[in-house]
């Protein structure tokens, strides 16, 4: 009788332990520690002695650079998120779709730079470069879907994932074979040299072009997805492809259109990236591809606004984060930790919001 009582007591204790919200407490403590570390670091940075402190111009530069880089990453991230929304697969070859677009534009920019067309007709030449890169990237994306992914449509989910990695390596090495291993300079119109003053702030012209182009592209995409018949079909396939098929929507056609739109956006990103960094190489798709995938996950993969938000946040984190948080702690060469810093933030976001920032309850999910 006595032993039975002991067991009951132990059971009651275990139940109490199990019921105790350890996970919640650990998360709360962790978040308090993180907020404290960030706040103290930022405070220390901002209160450094005047001769060591960053000037307002430097902060402005960090912000503009981060926004411009983040906008390009966001544009690439849209390609990941659109395909994931429809097929529930990560198209790891999307970085190479972007790279091919850049090379497509490079050959024309190089020729037009030599002939003087680039400088004499800056608006027309930039528009044409965008169209060329969009067409090349779209072509590669559609071919990729047709050759590498469609035959595996009903295969287990890991199969297209591995295929995507294989396709990525294949495309990168093909580009190396065709275009060579060395990086090449990308021609930029002289009209884009220098700065414009906007609301009293001097901003590089290229960064203005990048930001405006990305805003227009995302707005057009949002309108397309929400207002057009094809956009509605895309949303229907994303919600339930079988039911959409029964309702008369041609799923294969919708998938091809999704890849094509992802390619078009990658083409725009490719030209913006190339005029920003003034060079192209066969490896140029790798890091932006990884950054864009990260941005898509950070914002909530499958969400259009999440991908754009994730890209901008990632750009700002990489640009401002090390300077704002790490400098205050006296960490030398703080920018060498920008990737570690960024991925730490990603992990933390996923701990608290596993679906990403806009990943759950997102009405616009595609």
């Amino acid at each position: 009788m006595a032993s039975a009582t002991d067991e009951q007591l132990r059971g009651a204790e275990l139940g109490l332990l199990e019921r105790f919200p350890w996970r919640r407490i650990i998360l709360v403590v962790l978040s308090i520690v993180i907020v404290a570390v960030v706040a103290i670091g930022a405070y220390k940075t901002l209160t450094l002695p005047a001769d060591e402190r960053y000037s307002s111009t430097t902060w402005k530069n960090f912000i503009v650079l981060g926004l411009a880089q983040g906008a390009i990453i966001g544009l690439i991230a849209l390609g990941y998120t659109l395909v994931y929304g429809i097929l529930r697969m990560i198209n790891f070859a999307h970085g190479e779709v972007f790279m091919f677009g850049a090379f497509g534009a490079f050959f024309f920019s190089h020729a037009w730079e030599q002939s003087g067309f680039l400088d004499s007709n800056p608006v027309l030449s930039m528009a044409l470069l965008l169209v060329i890169a969009m067409l090349v990237s779209m072509g590669v994306a559609v071919l990729l879907e047709r050759i590498a992914y469609r035959p595996l449509r009903n295969a287990p989910r890991l199969v297209p994932l591995i295929t995507a990695i294989g396709a990525s390596l294949f495309l990168a090495n093909t580009a190396r074979g065709f275009f060579g291993a060395q990086s090449r300079g990308f021609g930029v119109p002289e009209a884009l040299d220098g700065t414009w003053t906007i609301l009293g702030v001097e901003v590089d012209r290229i960064q203005v072009v990048v930001l405006v182009t990305v805003i227009v592209a995302v707005a057009v995409l949002s309108l397309f997805v929400s207002k057009t018949r094809t956009g509605k079909s895309m949303r229907a396939v994303a919600a339930d492809s079988e039911t959409a098929s029964l309702m008369g929507i041609r799923v294969d056609r919708v998938i091809v259109i999704t890849f094509a739109i992802g390619g078009l956006l990658a083409g725009i990103a490719a030209v913006l990236f190339s005029i920003t960094f003034e060079s192209v190489s066969f490896t140029m798709g790798f890091r932006p591809g990884i950054a864009a995938f990260t941005a898509a996950v950070l914002g909530g993969i499958g969400s259009i606004s999440g991908a754009a938000l994730g890209g901008v946040l990632l750009g700002l984190l990489q640009s401002i984060g090390p300077a704002l948080i790490l400098t205050g702690y006296g960490i030398p060469s703080s920018f060498q930790l920008k990737d570690a810093f960024t991925f730490l933030v990603l992990v933390l976001v996923l701990i608290f919001r596993p679906g990403g920032l806009l990943g759950s309850g997102e009405a616009e999910k595609v």
Binding site: T58, L65, A181, Q182, S183, P322, A323
Partner: protein
């Protein structure tokens, strides 16, 4: 019945083992360290050599390997050095006629492996070479990252000499890290760092500098050598930044550097980081800020990426001063025309270092190899390494070569600083003379 089956199987197994043992004897030409005197009957005592000997039968080639960067962004470096090795083999018969000569009446066979300009590439390439017991020595690596603690150790453990034409990281020949079977004809970056610091502080008269380098031992070691010497001269280092060799967005890093307002930014990296530093840094740094790179930057792809010099922003790169030996009659009248005929214009300056390394190696082989009178050669591995490291006063194309016990064979080095785009590589604009040139010995900087 059952027993007879077992006997038959045992007999078959025994026969297979005998065949395998017989084949095994023919596998390698190397005599083990404890194997007594050479099987070929030469005078050399292979048992006394910890790593044994390489035995080359009459009519067989002397096998060399190269472990150089022949793919990727640094292919310009390794391919160029391979051409230097090939020309040294060509010249064994006293002429550059495009046909290989012979060494001690044996052909010289060159196997080319890729060091990938990375530790992983160095490991894979060195492991592949070390698996062949007939390889006498290796010319390589191109990049310090492929050698340091990787290829130098893997090959050294087998007693195979690794002789580099372009490794410059000081660690490779330091007391702490030097591997016994490693040597190089390239300069030690302690010399290059000191000369660039002299150029910036004394020649340009600038007193504040920041450094930016990627993760490679080459870039890290050279940036550190520059900082040490610049501060010793009285300069101030305003910032130390590190980037990844795969980074394309250097904007935030340069914004951070610009905040400390240095007069010079020193970035001893590889391309495309060098070229991207110049283009992006010029958008962010204060007008007139000078950027300086190193021999890893000074190559044709920088010119392809950047194009014309950027207004108000000068860029310089240091490199062995080729003009110091380009004026030599042999280089100018025989070597360079042969190189250009066979391979086109050189893509780096280190083909000459590879040519010298190969010839020093040939001399050492001639000094230690023993011929049994029938054309069979025996080359003791440790004696070969000792002969290379004992090289003194060798008149090479790149200057007088004298090796230290720690493997530095370029002990008297002239480094030039070249203003962009007057660079002595394909695409460079004439005149391609250095704007600053200085000679230092290893003793000056250690």
């Amino acid at each position: 019945m059952k027993n007879r089956k077992y006997f038959a199987m045992l007999a078959l197994l025994g026969a297979l083992m005998l065949v395998a043992a017989a084949c095994g004897d023919d596998d390698g030409g190397e005599t083990g360290g404890g194997g007594g005197t050479s099987a070929t009957g030469g005078a050399v005592d292979c048992a006394a050599d910890e790593f044994g000997c390489v035995e080359i039968a009459s009519g067989d080639p002397i096998q060399l390997a190269s472990l150089l960067s022949i793919t990727g962004d640094t292919a310009f470096l390794g391919t160029d050095s391979n051409h230097g090795v090939e020309l040294a083999i060509d010249y064994l018969d006293g002429t550059f006629d495009g046909t290989p000569g012979q060494l001690l009446d044996h052909d010289v066979e060159l196997t080319q492996e890729d060091d990938g300009c990375s530790a992983e590439g160095g490991q894979a390439g060195a492991t592949a070479i070390a698996a062949n017991p007939d390889v006498v020595a290796v010319i390589g690596t191109s990049c310090s990252s492929s050698a340091l603690g990787v290829a130098d150790t893997i090959l050294g453990d087998k007693g195979i000499l690794l002789f580099s034409p372009s490794n410059t990281n000081p660690g490779l020949t330091s007391e702490e890290a030097h591997q016994a079977f490693y040597a190089r004809t390239a300069h030690n970056d302690k010399i290059q760092g000191a000369i660039v610091a002299d150029f910036v502080f004394t020649e340009l008269g600038l007193t504040t500098a920041a450094t930016i380098n990627d993760e490679s031992p080459y870039a890290d070691g050279l940036a550190a050598a520059f900082r040490d010497n610049f501060e010793a001269l009285g300069g101030t280092i305003t910032g130390v930044e590190q980037v990844s060799s795969s980074d394309t967005d250097l904007g935030p890093v340069f914004t951070n550097i610009a905040a400390s307002e240095p007069e010079v930014v020193y970035g001893p990296n590889f391309n495309p980081v060098c070229a991207l530093s110049y283009t992006q840094g010029s958008d962010i740094l204060a007008k007139g800020t000078i950027q300086v790179g190193s021999d890893g930057c000074l190559e044709t792809s920088f010119l392809d990426t950047v194009g014309a010099p950027i207004k108000d922003f000068a860029y310089y790169a240091s490199s062995p001063d080729v003009s110091a030996y380009q004026s030599g009659a042999f280089y100018k009248d025989e070597y360079l025309p042969a190189y250009t005929d066979q391979f086109g214009k050189p893509t780096s300056v280190f083909n000459a270092h590879a040519y010298d390394a190969t010839n020093v190696l040939f001399d050492a082989i001639e000094a230690v190899a023993v011929d049994d009178g029938s054309g069979n050669l025996t080359i003791p591995r440790t004696a070969l390494k000792d002969a290379v490291l004992a090289t003194s006063g060798y008149e090479g194309m790149t200057g007088t070569i004298t090796c230290t016990p720690l493997g530095d064979c370029a002990t008297d080095v002239t480094i030039g600083v070249f203003e962009y785009d007057h660079w002595p590589v394909e695409g460079g604009v004439d005149p391609t003379d250095p704007v600053f040139s200085e000679t230092k010995t290893l003793a000056d900087v250690i």
